[in-house]
């Protein structure tokens, strides 16, 4: 059977048959890959430690008729710090689930891959968890191509000033003068929220640690961004409710 190598992040892994696991990977060059890891539920399996969700690994796969299989590989990073804390693990899980939703099989998406890798590394390093999480959710919208138009009101074209309304279905903001005809799906954005959203859209990840924000602001914007994301995905993210579970 033909074999190939991928550098990938494990997005999820679920029980498959008696002792196998079905693994979803985000690879650098091939996009999302689903593969079976034979015998990986056995205690002696060499693959078991390799295919844990959120691992970064270099893997050797064989091509199957319907499903590819994982033959072996090397672990590049297992993000042990990230897994050791509830808050970072919750964000990591939510990021992986979101990536699984927006990525496509067989289509390499290096910006998405690098975004996830950078954010997992930043979460593992212990920088403000809520800030890194929000940064990721904002940048996924940009990478996936459904970031809202926030620099001008989509109704009148003027620069928005003060409170605006984010219209989910139109994918943009409506300024205070044009708020009269509100759509049912949307949320008000304060000027502080709008400013933070704009900063996170453009900031280099290395400068994140220097960004000073309030936790309340981060969480309110995160909720709006995730509502907007779920609206466009047309599904709820299972792991979202775990973000605040131990607060």
């Amino acid at each position: 059977m033909p074999e190939y190598r991928v550098e990938a992040i494990v997005l999820s892994s679920s029980s498959f048959g008696e002792s196998d696991r079905l693994v979803t990977l985000l690879s650098r060059r091939r996009g999302k890959v689903r593969a079976v890891a034979r015998g990986s539920q056995k205690a002696t399996s060499k693959l078991a430690g390799l295919i844990q969700p959120l691992n970064h690994a270099r893997l050797l796969l064989w091509e199957g008729r319907s499903l590819d299989g994982i033959k072996g590989g090397d672990l590049l990073r297992d993000y042990h710090n990230l897994r050791s804390h509830w808050s970072t693990l919750s964000y990591g899980s939510c990021m992986a689930e979101l990536v699984e939703c927006v990525s496509a099989e067989g289509e390499g998406d290096e910006p998405l891959y690098l975004l996830l890798l950078t954010c997992l590394e930043t979460l593992d390093s212990g920088i403000d968890v809520d800030l890194v999480g929000l940064f990721f959710f904002v940048r996924v919208l940009k990478v996936a191509g459904f970031f809202p138009r926030i620099d001008e009101c989509f109704a009148c074209g003027r620069n928005p000033d003060g409170q605006v309304r984010l219209d989910y279905s139109r994918g943009g903001v409506r300024c205070s003068d044009c708020m009269g005809r509100m759509s049912a799906d949307g949320e008000d954005l304060s000027s502080a929220n709008l400013r933070l959203l704009s900063i996170l859209r453009d900031i280099h990840p290395r400068r994140l640690a220097r960004l000073q924000t309030q936790i309340g602001l981060l969480k309110s914007l995160r909720d709006i961004v995730l509502d907007y994301t779920e609206y466009h995905l047309d599904r709820k993210l299972n792991s979202r409710r775990f973000l605040d579970i131990l607060d």
Partner: protein, 210 residues
């Protein structure tokens, strides 16, 4: 497929295919085997299935599967009642019992917290564990051993329970992780080796004299 079989056989295949790991081919093979078995054998199988459904329930103390309440383990007065081992499902109780090394009590969660699958703490048997620790029995429980799998879900569950049980004044411990018995260091994956190094223990210098 069922159209090729007599309706009763097709129904049997359909029911067998609902079992985990049974596909249409295996379902057919099992059904053909059952058709050929003597009537008494089939009645025994049917009785066993009905018996399980009618008699087996959850132990009100540890939530393990049992046909008597409390279960045999909870009712056994010779067991150490100061230690409770928390496991994912009833098959883990069997695995622990096979070691013949643990003589404490158990608590079965019936699942693990899984953020990606949306399985939260409220879907597990965590509240009965808290009730157990807070009840009159609680002054006797001194240690809770978290024996969930060393997977992301198992670790998440252990982490959650650790934070929940810590303030209740019991010692919360986690089972060790590392190399399997008889395993080869050369074949171990990196993550397992790292955990094995983290959990290393001092060599007992007095072992020869014991």
């Amino acid at each position: 497929m069922p159209a090729f079989f007599a309706p009763s056989v097709a129904r049997l295949i359909e029911e067998l295919c609902k079992l985990p790991g049974i596909g249409p081919k295996t379902g057919q093979r099992l059904a053909m085997h059952l058709v050929d078995r003597p009537r008494e054998e089939i009645r025994d199988l049917a009785d066993a299935l009905m018996d399980v459904k009618e008699k087996v329930g959850h132990c009100s103390t540890c939530r393990n599967l049992t046909d008597s309440d409390p279960c045999d383990i909870c009712a056994d007065g010779s067991r150490d009642r100061t230690v409770v081992c928390v496991v994912e499902d009833p098959s883990d109780v069997v695995a622990m019992e096979r070691t013949r090394q643990f003589d404490g009590l158990y608590h079965v969660l019936h699942g693990l917290i899984s953020p990606m699958d949306g399985v939260g703490p409220e879907q597990l048997q965590i509240q009965p564990l808290l009730n157990r620790l807070r009840s009159d029995e609680s002054d006797r429980i001194e240690e809770v051993i978290l024996a969930t799998d060393p997977t992301v879900e198992g670790e998440a569950t252990a982490m959650y329970l650790g934070r929940l049980l810590g303030p209740l004044g019991v010692e919360v411990t986690r089972i060790a992780r590392g190399l399997p018995e008889g395993g080869n260091l050369d074949y171990a994956d990196e993550a397992t080796l790292v955990r094995a190094l983290e959990g290393r223990r001092r060599v007992n210098l007095n072992s020869e004299r014991q």
